[in-house]
Assembly symmetry: C2
Homo-oligomer: 390 residues x 2
């Protein structure tokens, strides 16, 4: 019965520290995700050492990542998003290409391998929908044109990011980087996406109308999760990450009449599984890397500083892709800076596939955390200045 | 990535078949739990063979059992229950002692060992609160005196049953059965129960009042689960089953002002984890045991028949422990017949601890299923007859 004790205590500790650190983060007007990551750093091997990753905890945190992207897919309003689609798409594409390119160069300059640079560039592309939306909500600016463009671009960023992840993952697992492999992998990813969204949006509304006639409690929620797990599983069969599948599953279900019910009822499950994911991610961070007094770390710290500057400025540049007058381009650019979940998932996948060692992984996590820490502060200054001028 | 595929497909299949079979069970006016068990039999090694128990699935189903009893504890209204406490207690005690004694004798008669008989007797003691409540709700008789006595007795049954489980588990794991071990184990179980309920009801309301001031979504739910897992874990440290701990945790939290919120929000988590528990339980059932044409199985089938008669009549006897006039004693007795969750958990614990082999385990599950199948039919006849007379 000893292992039952350890298992239950591990789950209890992860959730407890996630919520305590998450609460502190909120008090400091930061995202709760940052708190959960730091909770992981605190209880992981770097400091307390009470949580060690086990196959069971890894599986549970995998479910967390799947549920996280499922919810993101469910929350994507395809129609609303098409309204600002043009400018959002420009911002998104520039906001993926520029950070990717400069991130790749920085990594090569610091002596990392080409495969590592390909992966690390990808980490810098994603914009966090959650964090971005939260900042605009907090500052009561969610109804502005700038907010809509930013949120639209963040969603497209997610989709592009997940497609890049598919390609990059295949390259890293396969070995060689040729135009042929890139084309075939991205082709199969796009094919899976298009086919499953097309088939899904045709079948899902009828399927879930039928399911909604069943009598069991939470039947729609559970069948929604079944659908999500099934699509995620089959995504891995065509070489995509499971989270790409769950995002697609969420997108498909967002078109059903039952989407509101699924979104509401999945939240308790979300608040159980998702912190597991971020906390366990934090436990893999090696804080000794950040000790400036150890000579060998200085290069890593300089890498973090340079990467942060690149991560910040390249997304700001993307804001200027909006050529329309009367739009605050700087505001849009700065809003795109926080990397958040998808970036973290990239780093995690790279770490799990041995692309990054513990030091490089920790550096990437640090850069992602920095982008998320600093953006709200800068945004607030910008918005105050805009109010003064306007 | 192959294992991610298998893991997600396993979760999806378990939930899918649980809901399909659960729905069929409801259509046949049976409990959804029966459907979930049969779903397990269907997808387990006996028939389809698509689900094999792995350490990860076992852990997830363990969380299911813990959440199941947590919810049962949360739903226990201690005050309501004290009103009919006297008669309910008599019914409960007679309804534990008589089935236990006769169950024990039947097992010995069929040539099983003393340890097996001690455990199997325990399987016959518990009354399912869930199934019992559901029958009365369906027949719109929840407000009758009989219903209140039955529900009160079912709760006490659970508590006595869990205490018996603690003792029996220790005996089976320890080996020798002496008065001293029985006394020390039941003593420590009762001490843990009394101390944790006393300390818990003192501390929990203040603790959760504080937690309710925190800002994160579902913070009360998650902290409630943290509390549940922590108490469950420490219960295993004093030799109790984890589910005893989670039942106690639920009881404690039922006294807080936040109990309604926890009860409401835990339901989606319940509907995710609890079916995992019943389905996996079903996968361990070996249906070849029920093939009457194989000579060696006939004894098992006769055992099932005899056990069923004992299981039925001994609980009916308990109804007559109510000595008050104007109370339908037969109705109370019959209502106590369904064994359900706690009985199933006993059988499962016995199987996992190698007390029962696969055949004996399957026989016990069959008896539990039979009690749950037949009771609603008999009850309906009784209630119709009562309406004619009254």
């Amino acid at each position: 019965m000893h292992s039952v004790f350890e298992f239950l205590i591990a789950l209890a500790s992860i959730l407890f520290f996630a919520k305590i650190f998450g609460e502190i983060a909120l008090k400091l007007r930061q995202s709760a995700i940052i708190g959960e990551l730091l909770a992981g750093v605190f209880i992981g091997h770097s400091i307390l050492g009470i949580i060690h990753e086990t196959p069971i905890l890894t599986s549970i945190s995998e479910v967390g990542a799947v549920i996280l992207l499922f919810e993101a897919g469910l929350s994507t309003d395809i129609k609303e998003f098409l309204k600002v689609g043009g400018w959002a798409t420009s911002v998104a594409f520039i906001g993926v290409i520029v950070p990717y390119f400069f991130g790749y160069l920085v990594f090569l300059y610091f002596g990392l391998s080409s495969a590592q640079a390909i992966f690390a560039g990808a980490v810098l592309t994603a914009t966090s929908v959650g964090i971005t939306a939260r900042i605009f909500t907090d500052l009561k600016k969610l109804e502005t044109k700038e907010a809509k463009i930013v949120l639209g671009a963040a969603v497209i960023d997610d989709v592009i990011g997940l497609a890049i992840l598919a390609v990059v993952l295949k390259l890293v697992q396969g070995g060689t980087v040729t135009f042929r492999t890139v084309a075939s992998v991205s082709g199969s990813a796009v094919l899976f996406l298009v086919l499953s969204v097309a088939a899904g949006t045709l079948i899902a509304p009828t399927l879930f109308k039928f399911i909604s006639k069943m009598k069991q409690k939470h039947i729609i929620l559970v069948m929604g999760i079944v659908f999500c797990f099934a699509v995620s599983a089959f995504a891995t069969k065509v070489g995509l990450a499971s989270i790409v599948g769950s995002f697609i599953a969420g997108l498909i279900l967002s078109t059903t009449n039952q989407s509101e019910e699924i979104k509401r009822d999945v939240k308790p499950i979300y608040s159980f599984f998702v912190p597991m994911f971020f906390v366990l991610m934090g436990t893999n961070v090696n804080i000794s890397v950040f000790n400036f007094f150890v000579a060998v770390n200085r290069e890593i710290l300089i890498l973090i500083a340079v990467l942060f500057v690149v991560a910040f400025t390249t997304k700001v540049v993307a804001g200027f892709a909006v050529l329309k007058k009367g739009i605050n381009k700087l505001l849009i650019g700065v809003s795109m800076v926080p990397r958040g979940e998808v970036g973290l998932i990239f780093a995690e996948v790279g770490f799990k596939n041995n692309v990054f060692n513990s030091n490089e992984y920790s550096a990437l996590i640090a850069v992602i955390i920095l982008t998320t820490f600093i953006t709200p502060v800068v945004l607030k200054c910008l918005l105050l200045k805009q109010n003064e001028n306007g």
